[in-house]
Symmetry: C2
Subunit: 330 residues, 2 copies
Amino acid sequence: MKKTLTLTAGLLCSLNAWAMTPSNEPIQPILPAKITDPAKVELGKQLFFDPRLSLSGFISCNSCHNLSMGGSDNLQTSIGHNWQKGPINSPTVLNSSMNVAQFWDGRAADLKEQAAGPIANPGEMAFTHSLALDTLRSIPQYRDAFKAVYKVDKITIDAVTDAIAEFEKTLVTPHSRFDRWLLGDKEALTQVELEGYKLFKDTGCTTCHNGPAAGGNSFQKMGLVEPYKTDNPAEGVAALTGKDADRFKFKVPTLRNVELTYPYFHDGAYWKLEEAVDVMARLQLGRKLSDDEVGKITAFLKTLTGEQPSFTLPILPPSTNDTPQPKPFE
Amino acid sequence: MKKTLTLTAGLLCSLNAWAMTPSNEPIQPILPAKITDPAKVELGKQLFFDPRLSLSGFISCNSCHNLSMGGSDNLQTSIGHNWQKGPINSPTVLNSSMNVAQFWDGRAADLKEQAAGPIANPGEMAFTHSLALDTLRSIPQYRDAFKAVYKVDKITIDAVTDAIAEFEKTLVTPHSRFDRWLLGDKEALTQVELEGYKLFKDTGCTTCHNGPAAGGNSFQKMGLVEPYKTDNPAEGVAALTGKDADRFKFKVPTLRNVELTYPYFHDGAYWKLEEAVDVMARLQLGRKLSDDEVGKITAFLKTLTGEQPSFTLPILPPSTNDTPQPKPFE
């Protein structure tokens, strides 16, 4: 009888939390990942960590989307094959499944399409899909895993990028303090953080930073009210459409885990979150915030740090005598 | 009563396995790691994976001693800061606590001394100990962890390298098929593998590859009977002693997990294990093995692949506004 009572109380408590979710808040809680095909996710995880998808044998997806570091590399722009300086700041892979499209300019429709890009980009992993497939096909454990998961006799780039994307979809960060507050735990945020959230809304930040990811769901011009000054030549969406109106239009980045994903903006020019808040308010919203206001909004933003994906480091199957050798110095 | 019987039977079984260990075998089983201070090991694991110990913010210990890949990088020689080509093949960190000394030339007495090297080596992580300490000291979670584990108010390089070494000591690979055989499981090896082991001993490989790590416990001249031809300028122990007799004398590498630690030798010149076996037999022992013999010894060597260290990928604490910024392009 006691057990039943406890269970019922627990259930009521959950329902209560749900009922208490402020339905009119512009940001919604992140839900934990539902893994329906663990073998596919495990395969994708191996591929995500496998540097043999690069010409050098040294760069993996995790090199620039480091899951120890908020799913980014914490560099202004990334380091690619032969230490090439990348053109743009590496966006976090965390919660990236919620993005309306992938890359800063949205040139990939989804994570699967995105995953094909860096492997063959001469400035990143500098490989070819064909050589990546030769590599994977030479390793019996990979052959077996793809056969079991995708029912294919021959590994395809479609299956490779699908597995990576399926792993990436699990990289969500629920249970942040802000989400606990959203779900009814009124103790989860301090007074300062709550004031920061109110300022965040009142200043207009939620015009773009809304939805579960607090961003990622629209493209906006960088420097809407006042131009953004940068040496970075990235053109944004205009590079795809050729339209002048799309110049400097970038995907609004998620603010989830923003505490972990410095430096900020597409050019990684700002290292301090306080500075990023100040710049955004001025350039996008025409508002000069006081130091106190910036401090409060920054305090709120840090409550968006969620539970980081926790998993066992994958052990990769060894190459065989048939595996193409890495060529780091070509 | 039934439970007691089962327990006793289990105990007898273990004792039995122990009693059955062939005491006169030149290779002994690897014992699982005993972790006495889990907080220290966890701290060392974070540091091992933290690229902020490098000037670029891109290279961590795990870059060249990748724990997804047998604790090595599977490159001929490693890639350092600014894509510099390293001078020598990266030795596996797995079971490295059993080495008589560290580095190919033994210039570091132990893992702690070793860990200090790459951080400050301009061709590797290209940082300074002083900047590494500034970085760690700027991060409150690191300050707290060092204070809890080492009782220090200020993080020291001594504590940093000690924590890394303590983590590395846990990176042992017990329960290989060969060890199961050593411990009495006569089904653990096939007939071919057993013949390979006999050939391995009869050919004289165990002169140098003995002990729990099947190597790592002595220095020997590379090219004892016949000279080893290589473009690699490494001099071995002679670089330390200046003695001509020490020229080309290197630490005998462990053969544990040798299936995973290609390419082979200090110059990483050989990718196929079969080739490495052939070269070793000819140059060190003056024996030309047949293809059949090489195949059998190779089959035996693959039974030395042990259980790889299994752990959760560490989540690193974020930098703060006081953390020195990485400088990848300097």
